[in-house]
Amino acid sequence: MMFSGIFTTSKKAVRNVAIVGLAILLVANYADLLGHHLFTIDVHKMLYFDTFGLLGNSIAFGSTLLYVLLSGRDMERVGNNLAEYFALIFFVLCGVAIITTFNTLLMLFLGIEIISIPLYILTGSDKRNLKSNEAALKYFLMGSFSTGLMLLGITFLYGASPTGTFFIDDLWSGKGVSPVFMAGLLLLLVSMAFKVSAAPFHFWTPDVYDGAPTVFTSFMATIVKVSIFVGFVRLFDEAFGESRERWQIFVAIITAATLFIGNVTAVFQQSVKRMLAYSSIAQAGFMLLALLALNGVAKEGIILYAAAYSIATIGIFAILIRMKDYTFEGFNGLARQQPVLAATCTIFLLSLAGIPLTGGFFAKYYMLSSVVATGHFLWLVIFSVLCAAVSVYYYFRVIQAMYFKEGDGTTETEPGAGFKGLLVVLAAIVVILGVCPQSLLSQLTKIIYTW
């Protein structure tokens, strides 16, 4: 991918190569999922390709494909280095594939770094925009700090492990929690929480999401975030054995804080882009519930959540990119100008709010029921439900603006039929996930419970 820019100057060709590449990735991944291995590389047990990880990959690759199809054209407007943008996105996907399937802490670290460094560049890719530069620098500084913490945590865990190993299966000594082990675990928790923008480590998120070119915000807020979540759940599920009761309370507090800060701050935003940044924090809060529960339901749920959230958010961002004005007022009366855009956008927003008949409902349902199934933390379930009710406020503000307010909110250019068609397909997927999530989950349940 990286070299396609040398061979051709045609932007269209670059984009098509990217689309074909993604499609191949997706097919290969799906084949793996069905048990047909196209080729095997000895990874020395560093990576472990199980269903959970492969499904995470499928969602990441699939949503990237949809994302490139929807917004690929808009990347051209960021700058001239289209091929490089695609190359960076593919690097990120490489990192995604590592952190969804890692089997040792080293691989986790490597994956996180491979994801982060291209993202720093993408954030600053709008070189002449001061906000974009500021966002990139901020992201870089805070990101490296959290990576440092992660490394420290890994070192502690290495030291605490009975045999001196990075393999996550062997970290747990089976004898109880030593202080060094706990410190390492908490440092990992903090740095991962930073990466998924959980409160109180979320401060970079609004600025970075707002400052980065909107096409890349969409990428960061969806694909990157949910794959790190898949890695997050994988790490805490496998690595820390019986120590769960010791750290669950920290996760619960982080979850509650994330839900509260994300939802309440989103209410006060004037720009839809910034609102979506806070909403992504709020959604992260919901996904953290899976980390708290860590049972079969939670693992199914995080996959479903990843799919529902990514598709809806990619859709909304794709529409947002085309808008002239990013404030709520900019959406006034959009329904009259662009009925298809407004209708699909409504479905995406309803899904994010978790209204039944959309994928978002079952995603939230799974998160809530995973925690209820544990029998503890019912207060957190009720709290998250209250926060979900708050979220209706800011999601519906967009719907109100589009449908019920007079105005001439419009897009910069008339969107093409292909773009609209894709949006309708996306909306259809959201609704199908909402009516029968079985299509995605039937494969999961079979294997996860035996896993």
């Binding site: 209204i355 349902y365 449908y403 029968c436 349940t445």
Partner: protein
């Protein structure tokens, strides 16, 4: 078979409705669809005949796999309770469409399509025999109504309907948590009605008492019960009248229905433990709403508050847990729907003719529009429960139920105070009739013309129903008897 048709006819016709790009076609289409639904519902009533609770008649039930991994099935069925409410829904919608035939809407096809979708949601709520499916339809009924009110309502519509939406959505989410909690405590991890009715054998009584509130808040908001009623007057006032009719005639019944089907039999101890608390709230709400209604000048707000008072009485009777009272609730849900529909039609007529709903600006209509006056008086008498009207049958059963209740120690107090609100109800209703229809004719009302054919048809149907049920309540009593016994058995009172 029949319940599936009842849900899918409005659903499919509603979705098609979005594609019709002419007001006339859309209106005709909606009426046609609602009439077909009515025929199906009446067929259902015919098939059900007398015995509706027990039999596994394949015409009346459908049960197919939906989410096997979750233990949720697409199970729908007609029993006494769902039959009477489905009939109410199926009768109301064509009447609403005919009565508001002359109302003009921008992009009317969307309006009618959303109306049909809300009908599908409502019927789904009443027919669902699976808790998750019930929750699904509960929300499906809410979303179209939100759009209907926000798009076609009055000046302050956005704020009012938003309040309505957040209130009910918050309630529903709490209910969802409650449903999930109960699901994990069922013996076979299933959402089916049978498993839910069995769950109280598997959970301690202390848990029942707090789970009760998770579910009850959702239902109480929908009814609404004081102090959760504040969304209602604003929403009724700001909604287009056709939607207000749906809201007050049918949607408030969702709350009562929810308590009867998904709360009282599922958590009998919780229901019993909080019975007095809820009853007290009902009583306070009834008195409060009646007093406020007396002071209202706006006809829509007056009816909104009177609706709170009536629903309060029905809720009171549910918590009295008496078989007569339970039957009364079911019958009165139907009656109240029909009566309030008649009242709204009159309000809509007045507003369209005179451009105002202020009682103080009206007067002497009986002289200029005698047909309207006669029909309204009959509807209003039904609403204040005069003998020979349907309201009397319902409220008589309700009061008997509350008075003879063995579930509470305060049945006498509740009965007496509730009876006071009936008197208050008579005062504000008759006062309203007096000031709107009698008294001097003023400049505004002298131009009145009497009602036209479509309104005459609708109001006559309503009046016939009112008088018929008032004189010969046998069929509805038969329809509800078996089910009320069934519920009380579940609540361990029999």
């Amino acid at each position: 078979m029949i319940p599936v048709l009842l849900i899918f006819i409005p659903l499919v016709t509603g979705l098609i409705g979005f594609l019709l790009k002419s007001e006339k076609t859309a209106r005709g289409w909606a009426l046609l669809s609602s009439l077909v639904t009515l025929v199906v519902a009446l067929t259902g009533a015919g098939v059900a005949g007398g015995g509706v609770a027990g039999g596994a008649n394949p015409m009346l039930h459908a049960d197919v796999a939906w989410l096997p991994d979750l233990g949720s099935r697409f199970a729908v069925g007609l029993d006494g309770l769902s039959l009477i409410l489905s009939l109410l829904t199926a009768i109301s919608f064509p009447l609403i469409f005919i009565a508001t035939w002359r109302d003009q809407y921008k992009r009317a096809w969307n309006f009618y399509a959303l109306m049909l979708l809300s009908q599908a949601g409502l019927l789904g709520v009443f027919l669902a025999q699976d808790a998750l499916l019930f929750y699904f339809f509960w929300e499906l009924a809410l979303i179209p109504v939100y759009f209907l009110c926000s798009q076609w309502g009055g000046e302050r519509r956005i704020a009012a309907t938003f309040k309505f939406f957040v209130y009910t959505f918050l309630g529903s989410l709490l209910m969802l948590v409650g449903i999930i909690w109960l699901y994990f405590h069922t013996a076979d991890h299933s959402f089916s009605m049978a498993s839910f009715y069995d769950v109280h054998n598997h959970i301690p009584n202390s848990d029942q008492t707090w789970v009760f509130w998770l579910l009850f808040i959702a239902f109480a908001i929908k009814m609404p019960i004081w102090p959760l009623h504040t969304w209602q007057p604003d929403t009724y006032e700001q909604s287009p009248t056709a939607v207000t009719m749906v809201l007050s005639a049918i949607m408030v019944k969702m709350g009562l229905f929810g308590v009867i089907r998904w709360l009282a039999p599922v958590l009998p101890i919780g229901t019993w433990a909080w019975g007095d608390t809820v009853s007290t709230a009902c009583i306070i709400g009834m008195i409060y709403a009646s007093l406020v209604a007396m002071k209202q000048d706006d006809l829509k707000r007056l009816l909104a508050y009177s609706s709170i008072a009536h629903v309060g009485l029905m809720a009171l009777a549910i918590f009295a847990t008496d078989s007569t009272g339970m039957q009364g609730v079911m019958i009165q849900m139907f009656n109240h729907g029909i009566n309030i529909l008649g009242m709204w039609i009159v309000v809509d007529l007045i507003e369209r003719q005179f451009g105002t709903r202020k009682i103080s600006e009206l007067g002497g209509l009986a002289k200029t529009a005698p047909g309207l006056a006669i029909l309204l008086v009959i509807v209003a008498l039904g609403n204040v429960a005069l003998p020979l009207t349907n309201g009397f049958v319902g409220e008589f059963l309700l009061f008997t139920g509350v008075f003879t209740s063995t579930a509470t120690a305060y049945s006498l107090v509740f009965t007496v105070v509730a009876a006071v609100t009936i008197i208050l109800g008579a005062i504000y209703t008759l006062n309203m009739i007096q000031r709107v229809f009698y008294g001097p004719v003023n400049g505004l009302t002298s131009r009145a013309v009497d009602i036209s054919l479509n309104e005459k048809v609708v109001l006559s149907v309503i009046v016939v129903l009112i008088v018929f049920i008032g004189i010969y309540p046998g069929p509805v009593l038969a329809m509800t008897k078996e089910f009320s016994e069934f519920i009380l058995t579940r609540m361990a009172y029999k």
